[in-house]
């Protein structure tokens, strides 16, 4: 009897693949989180748990949300630049100054912002769920809120502790 063996190029185990997917960036993030987490360790804060959250985790849902946000980005970009739209401290965006929106776009600005916020809310929820800890949604949101501000271009507006700030 001829026996054909299936020498499939074995994929590494799921855990291995997740580790390699996250890569060096993940190590940096984990290290950063670990340092901060150690400061809070004594308090038993839930943030300690979030230290292990993989923010780069990918699922079909997360990919779909990111694609949707990327497709929308060129439409919002001029409004970030003009200051019409700013980044809020809870990881969303808001119409900061509607009068800075050209009249022809003014009718669509609210639906644009609400569609973006719906995606952002889903993104935080999906990342927390994909990490197996839906209760981490709040921490994921806060971390992203900081990231959006860090990534914001100079001249964009974001919500600081005491109101809108121009970067």
């Amino acid at each position: 009897m001829a026996k054909l063996s299936l020498k499939a190029r074995q994929k590494p185990s799921l855990a291995k693949r997740l580790r390699s997917r996250t890569g060096k960036n993940m190590k940096k993030i984990l290290l950063g989180f670990a340092m901060i987490a150690s400061l809070f360790m004594a308090t038993g804060s839930s943030f300690v748990q979030a230290a292990a959250a993989d923010l780069e985790i990918n699922t079909p849902a997360i990919t779909a949300i990111k694609n949707s946000m990327q497709a929308r980005h060129p439409q919002i970009l001029p409004h970030y630049n003009s200051g019409a739209v700013g980044l809020t401290k809870d990881g969303l965006i808001a119409v900061r100054d509607a009068t800075a929106v050209p009249l022809k776009d003014r009718g669509g600005i609210n639906s644009l912002v609400s569609a973006e916020n719906a995606d952002r809310n889903k993104l935080y929820k999906e990342i927390a769920t994909a990490n197996g800890h839906p209760e981490w949604e709040g921490e994921v949101r806060q971390t992203f809120a900081g990231r959006w501000v860090d990534k914001a271009q100079s001249g964009w507006w974001y919500q600081g502790a005491s109101g809108w700030v121009k970067k």
């Binding site: 054909l4 063996s5 299936l6 020498k7 499939a8 074995q10 994929k11 079909p60 990919t63 003014r106």
Partner: protein, 597 residues
């Protein structure tokens, strides 16, 4: 100043005369005026007579009755003329306030029982604080006039502009050349708008009438009629802002439309939209309909019959034939016992259709029957490998509520001489960014000969059956299932070609496909088999693989029978689904020439 004004304080009336017999300027300051229409404070009125022409400078703070804060404004007139008693001219003037700048020339006339104002504005810009009412670079004219006859005021107004743009939430008037003319009567407390005509550039004209009770501030009766307007203009101006978030918010349309609606006490009471030879195309390519003729009446109290027809079109690339539809519109619900949409050489028949719009959400249910469609045309249309035979099927009751679509009973499609059944179907948020589908699938008696020829996998003769339990798709990608597909037992012909064996082997990984060629088995074109099967327990992207039998080191995918016998064993227990699908695609794609029999 109205008779009811109180607390009026004339703080200073200074008349400075140099030389003693000539007046060079007039200053009037008013501390505060309180009237039912609003409040005025810090008013300063200065007429300068020193130059060749008198000039006016007026500044004050105004708070209309319905506002909470005072707004400062200035009116400067480069030339301020008072040629007749009761008439004033402001030439080269500018009216300015926060977010308002209106260069203007105005003529005011005020006699007892006769009042008019005629303003030409140039490159004017204005906006309210929230920006929901705004105009930019507007050039045009406003004429307002009122005359009292007996105890009724007859009034009229014209507002038109030849340049600039206007946004009045939710409407945007981008093309200049619009004109708004309005006229009526006023006898306290009723304001009658007898006729309001709005001529919108590139749309057409609309007319409206209304009754407004100024005491209760109730709009008691409104009627708007628009005949033979351009559908593209009507869509972008009126309909698009209303359906912005729906599937109809991103359309390219053309054709003519008649449109009218009536409101009583701010509640819509009737509506009618008629479309003539219209064309509607979704800009994302999801659907397109040609030669649409529609009669869409709606009445709050009386159920109406909607009629819609189109000559052809497509939905998700699926061609639609000449169609006539009829449904009943009853307040906020639409029902139809049967709707037939010709599709290719068959039809999609919807039965027991019912939809309702409540609390800004759609709820609907329907049954569906797919009348036989040639797989040949169907597969070509979708760009799939060419298939033979016909597909038909039945979909039991589908319900959509709270952004969730669910199906009672099983959906069955007949294809490849067998059947595919789907049951326990539920889709959460089907139109959202992350739709989630839950279902179970069952395949029975699928003719493997037809199937493998279609997908050019290498011939396998036999019957295929399969079960996919707890299937879960996330954004239409599988993330969970317990699936098994295998050949059916029975006394039918069971043959597998050499190429099919190679392809099955290749599914497990490249490198092993040539193994067959290195043995004497390469001289045989086909082999008998007892069973072929694969199973996958999918969790996220990782599939735990299995076959028709387990072995100490793996599982059997092809269990041969007779002599010569071919057996394909699998050793890889965990496989990435992405990789597995990529391999299947490579196998079917590499055989670029389709074999169709």
């Amino acid at each position: 100043m109205p008779p009811s004004a109180r607390n009026a304080l004339f703080a200073l009336l200074a008349i400075i005369a140099v030389p003693a017999y000539a007046i060079s300027s007039i200053h009037i300051s008013v501390g505060e005026v309180d009237a039912p229409a609003g409040q005025l404070k810090n008013a300063r009125f200065q007429v300068d007579l020193k130059g060749a022409e008198p000039t006016l400078k007026l500044s004050a703070e105004l708070k209309p009755g319905n506002e909470k804060t005072f707004t400062a404004f200035n009116l400067n007139c480069g030339t301020f003329l008072n040629t007749r008693i009761g008439e004033l001219d402001c030439l080269n003037g500018v009216f300015a306030a926060k977010q308002i700048n209106v260069p203007l020339t105005a003529h005011f006339k005020s006699y007892p029982g006769d009042f008019s104002v005629n303003i030409d504005f140039m490159q004017a810009s204005f906006s309210d604080a929230t920006g929901i009412h705004a105009g930019e670079k507007l050039t045009g004219k406003v004429i307002l006039a009122a005359r009292k006859q007996a105890d009724v005021w007859h009034w009229s107004g014209v507002f038109n502009w030849t340049d600039g743009e206007l946004y009045w939430q939710p409407f945007y008037f981008g093309k200049a050349g619009n004109s708004f003319a309005i006229g009526g009567t006023f006898k306290a407390p009723m304001l009658q708008i007898r006729e309001a005509n709005l001529l919108v550039n590139e749309v057409g004209s609309m007319s409206a009438s209304a009754h407004i009770n100024t005491q209760t501030k109730k709009v008691e009766d409104v009627k708007v009629v628009a005949k033979e307007v351009d559908f593209a203009g009507l869509y972008s101006l009126v309909l698009k802002p209303m359906v912005e978030k729906s599937a109809f918010g991103n359309l390219k349309v053309s054709g003519k439309a008649d449109w009218q609606f009536e409101m009583k006490n701010l509640q819509p009471t009737s509506f009618e939209l008629n479309l003539k030879n219209a064309h509607v195309e979704d800009l994302k390519g999801k659907f397109e309909l040609n030669d649409i003729n529609a009669h869409i009446p709606w009445d709050y109290d009386v159920p109406q019959t909607v009629e819609l027809s189109y000559s052809q079109g497509h939905v998700l690339n699926m061609p639609l034939g000449n169609t006539r539809l009829q449904a009943e519109l009853n307040r906020y619900s639409v029902t139809a016992p049967s709707l037939v949409l010709p599709v290719l050489d068959g039809a999609l028949k919807f039965e027991d259709v019912s939809a309702a719009y409540l609390n800004q959400q759609w709820f609907w249910h329907l049954k569906m029957q797919l009348q036989p469609i040639s797989m040949n045309q169907f597969s070509q249309t979708l760009g799939w490998p060419e298939m033979q035979g016909k597909v038909d099927g039945q979909v039991p009751l589908i319900t959509y509520a709270n952004k969730q679509l669910s199906m009672d009973g099983a959906m069955q499609f007949n294809m490849f001489n067998g059947s595919v059944r789907m049951y326990d179907l539920r889709i959460d948020d089907p139109l959202g960014t992350v739709p989630r589908l839950y279902a179970n699938l069952e395949m029975r008696d699928i003719d493997l000969g037809d199937l493998t020829r279609t997908f050019n996998f290498g011939a396998i003769e036999g019957k295929l059956e399969g079960d996919v339990k707890d299937l879960r798709l996330e954004s239409w990608k599988p993330v969970h299932m317990d699936a098994i597909i295998q050949t059916a037992d029975g006394k039918h012909r069971k043959k597998v070609s050499q190429r099919a064996v190679e392809n099955i082997t290749a599914l497990g990984g490249e490198g092993t496909a040539a193994a067959l060629q290195r043995t004497f088995l390469r001289f045989f074109k086909e082999f008998n088999y007892e069973k072929i099967g694969l199973s996958c327990q999918l969790r996220q992207d990782v599939c735990k693989m299995g076959g028709v039998e387990s072995t100490p080191t793996g599982y059997v995918i092809v269990k041969g029978k007779g002599v010569p016998t071919v057996t394909v064993n699998g050793y890889t227990e965990y496989v990435s689904l992405t990789d597995l699908l990529a391999r299947i695609k490579r196998i079917t794609d590499s055989n670029s020439k389709m074999i169709v029999k």
